[in-house]
Amino acid sequence: MARSVLCVDTADRIDDVATAVEDDESLTARTATSVEAARETLEAEPIVCVVTGYDLPDGTGLEVVGAIRETAPQTPCVLFTDVPPAEIDTASFEESIVEYLNRDLPDAHDRLGFIANDVIDYSAQASFIRPDDEDERLETLAQYDVDALPIEESFERLTDLIASHFDAAVSFIGLIEEDEENFLACHGGDLDTLTREDTICTHSMLQEDVMVVEDILQDARFAENEQLQNLGIRSYAGANMTASNGQVIGQVCLLDHEPRGYDAEEQAELEDFADTAMEILELRQTVRDAERTEVAQ
């Protein structure tokens, strides 16, 4: 299925941009010749990438970028323009990452399709740190058919026990998937999924030991995170669920509504709970695999 790319530029340039995009067979161009028309298209159609010029009749290409950041913030944008970066007013867009491609480069026409595909492929992972061996980690995670395993009640009992043991407001077990964290059980909160960019577990999973954030408001990685603010979270502790091949697939975590630390003994206990959660998952999967084999025979 072709990827739908919104091309935005002035009337005298739009055909050239759309042609450059559609020279790549995997891309289909939708066109708009103003910021307003671009807004309307973004609301009406599923767009996976925006390619926009800078000078538009009713604004700038960065206003188009702003529009898509409001509705679909992960959608990548390419500024395809002959306006030099120094002449582009970024005052209201200082932390939006936009791909810049100078349309005056000799190979700009040929590069546009390549870059559009590249940013589409990689945009979802751009906003968070990810392990270098992420593909292997995801392959490991895929071996656990969590939707089919009867683990929900076991994990809910476990998170109840964990919260009680640590006298914590919230305890949860979450699996870290490609773009989001999927919460399998949660005591004291109503968590379903969060994009990885918004989770502390995205950072915690990269550490071998327990990660503790005593006061989220004092940590620049999390202090501006609206999702965490909305949940009223002030402190965090997370331990890895590590599969037998060493890949970290999830986290067992504690949250509290006030600043809080965890001593070495408590951190070791949290790791024990994470190991227990992993064992439950492994055992359930082993039983299911055995049942399948039996049925097949």
Partner: protein, 216 residues
């Protein structure tokens, strides 16, 4: 010293040679030692170009530092810096390190210009910790590194190095931040100054971990 085959880049002092596509996270609390090692990785050989994003050094100072690592390397480099004034086509400036949008576009434009001249490309950021200290939300730094810096290395099959001063105040736990960042880079080099003009590099990559004593 000339570059290796098309698959690798020459780097002195046991860090290299580095395969195409290699990204290096360089950490340490002695900025002079960091700068010396940084220059050795990013200084382009004949037939190569480099783009350096500098936060605290003027463009000409960066070029001098690269010349010190490799004869003529400064002339084969473009610098985007937050210090000093622009000069010619290869020293550009940014007014505000927290303007990642503008900085990313300037960086991409310089990288594209360099890659028009040669497909042998090196790049570096010195110091990433200064950028982190200017931002309210560290997630923006990850976006910048992933979408701009690491992407440029991946697409160009070049090499790149990102230097982090671990003594800087970045508003977050430094050890935890380094642990996180390390996973996004192919190689980690920890620089420890051991005496006047001497340092130990602890290099961690796919081949494991090794320590190398170097003069700086």
């Amino acid at each position: 010293m000339s570059s290796l085959s098309a698959d690798g880049f020459e780097v002195s002092d046991g860090i290299g040679p580095l395969e195409s596509g290699t990204s290096v996270l360089l950490t340490g609390d002695d900025t002079d030692a960091l700068e010396s090692v940084f220059a050795r990785v990013v200084a382009p050989a004949d037939g190569e170009r480099s783009v350096v994003l500098a936060t605290d050094s003027r463009g000409r100072a960066v070029k001098r530092s690269l010349n010190g690592a490799k004869r003529g390397a400064g002339d084969r480099s473009s610098v985007l810096t937050a210090a000093g004034s622009p000069s010619g086509d290869d020293i550009k400036t940014v007014d505000d390190l927290s303007d990642l949008t503008g900085m990313g576009m300037e960086f991409a434009a310089l990288a594209a210009d360099s890659q028009q001249e040669t497909d042998r490309f090196r790049t570096g950021i010195f110091l990433c910790s200064t950028i982190a200290g200017e931002l309210d939300d560290t997630r923006s730094l990850y976006r910048f590194l992933n979408s701009t810096f690491l992407t440029e290395i991946r697409r160009s099959d070049g090499i790149g190095v990102c230097a982090l001063d671990t003594s800087a105040d970045i508003g977050a736990n430094m050890d935890s931040t380094v642990t996180g960042l390390k996973t996004s880079f192919k190689s980690h080099v920890a620089v420890e100054a051991t005496g006047p003009g001497e340092a130990t590099l602890t290099i961690s990559d796919a081949d494991g971990e090794r320590a190398v004593d170097v003069s700086i």
